[in-house]
Point group: C2
Chain length 324, copies 2
């Protein structure tokens, strides 16, 4: 299986594969070859345990799980380090029965079902007392860390520790709230709608903007206009509106940027909060096309250089004709 | 020029190019083609201002500087955001007069001169009262964010803000010191030398280990055995010993992993500290080969999955015959 190990310096938990590790030589020349649809594991899967199925969206357990819910989460010392059993679960969300690669090409109704599924699975994982966070995210394309299978899917990981960026985000939002007694993200939404210079697209319930201090070119955030800290609860009733704006943004990427690889991740509040309706966090989605490799030293320093201003990428994306 | 902009959520400063931005269309199909040695800008450069030169190592100002020391660092509000002139300097360290691509192939004496140069430039930038941190780092290979020019070089950036990971690291080390009254990194060095399971290589003054909770496969840290928080001061007199171990590790990467792209960064203490000899930080170097693209969602969440245990990668690197 694998282990959760804590970096002793920055307190970051990392999942480290142990038993099912690839041999070192397998890293020397990693190859990813596209799968023939005839052999697509998501078109013809009969072996995987189906966890949930509705509207053509199928949730299955990962075939090479790196998390394992069968044993409890117990931290223990390992010399000066800290280690734990990799408690949790890792699920694949197969987004459509059809062999379609990019979520941008799915009908809005199908994307709606995908986001409904995320919300349902998040609520289900919340029942597990060990779970501190549920990550729902997508890797599209080889450059985004996906295998080239050509069948739209995303992933859900329920983990017993808080990811570092979520800690940083909630801490930052708390500081702002402590001082201003207003939600930082609500203020961002209001300011971006007023100024318009980083606005990519919007509908009644959601807004898509490029962030003021982006890490990556064309990085885009989708935020709900209505305040809610929690995705799984806050999205209920608005899934179709969210799906429409996600499709809108993904089509702008696909058409304007020549079908780039991308990642998105839902940035919801931690599972365990003093109050589920605390005002200092506001769920949102980060979407990042993977266009540059400039993230070399950035990975090591946390210091980013964005080679193009977000006002220019917002203008560019806004101009893309998605109805062509 | 460019701007420093602060992410309002996590307080991360980002350099955002403004004037010299590439057009959005330039990101659509980024191409990097190898440069003919006849046209190598580092073999035949006569235009760049030479900032420092010794033992065949030449420091020049970046030709497309993203930092500019001519105007002071002044933060100002931009709505709810914060922005500043991108004060600082950005230098290229051309490591050799020869057209050699990989530092692994330079003689130890030449690598020694490179590290001496880093230390000298760091001390020089310290004189600038706006400078909070000096980053010295290398991107080798296209996958590491470098252009394919084939001439060994590294970069030095003097910046008026603390990079986020440095903040996280110093904060973590402080916490450990507060409790244990010992340096965390000294304890790591002692434990790794005793256990040996993550030891890659060592010499009299330095040790190379894979970290207990790595983010990336084959990630390797080089730490001085002697405690010192500051690279520029602590390395003096030990540059040749450091150069020998750097070459040792880079050769293990080159031979064992088929000449992979890699990054390294010197993780020294912030320029401004209560005392330059405070005991709670300990400089070191992180080296990361860029073998996998799995860092897709990791970039967005700070949650990492390392697909191979560091004990296995240490064993693999240890076995590489670098004298063949």
């Amino acid at each position: 299986m694998s282990q959760l190990r804590k970096d002793p310096v920055v307190s970051r938990w990392v999942i480290v594969a142990t038993e099912r590790a690839r041999r070192p030589a397998a890293f020397v020349d990693p190859q990813s070859s596209a799968t023939d649809p005839k052999n697509c594991p998501y078109c013809h899967d009969t072996a995987s345990k189906v966890v949930h199925e509705s509207h053509g969206v199928r949730v299955i357990n990962s075939s090479g799980p790196i998390l394992d819910g069968s044993k409890p989460f117990e931290r223990r010392a390992h010399g000066l380090y800290e280690v734990a059993h990799s408690h949790g679960s890792h699920e694949i969300v197969v987004e459509t029965p059809q062999h379609v690669a990019n979520m941008a090409d799915l009908p809005v109704a199908q994307i709606t079902a995908v986001f409904q599924t995320y919300a349902l699975r998040m609520q289900a994982h919340r029942e597990n007392p060990f779970v501190e966070y549920v990550l729902a995210y997508k890797n599209y394309g080889v450059a985004a860390g996906s295998r080239a299978i050509g069948h739209a899917r995303s992933q859900i990981m329920a983990v017993p520790v808080l990811p570092m960026r979520i800690k940083d985000k909630t801490r930052g939002a708390e500081k702002y709230f402590d001082y201003h007694e207003r939600c930082l993200f609500c203020d961002i939404v209001a300011q971006e709608l007023k100024r318009g210079e980083r606005l990519v697209s919007q509908n009644e319930h959601f807004v898509a903007v490029t962030p003021f201090a982006p890490r990556f070119p064309f990085e885009t955030w989708i935020l709900p206009k209505e305040h809610h800290c929690d995705f799984a609860q806050g999205v209920v009733g608005f899934e179709d509106s969210l799906a429409a704006l996600i499709k809108d943004v993904l089509l702008r990427f696909k058409i304007g940027l020549n079908d780039p690889a991308y990642n998105y991740m839902i940035q919801t509040a931690p599972v365990k909060r003093p109050s589920a309706f605390k005002d200092d966090y506001h769920w949102h989605i980060e979407i990042m096309p993977r266009l540059t490799r400039v993230a070399g030293f950035e990975r090591g320093t946390g210091f980013y250089i964005c080679p193009i201003p977000p006002e220019m990428t917002a203008d560019f994306l806004k101009e893309v004709d998605i109805h062509a």
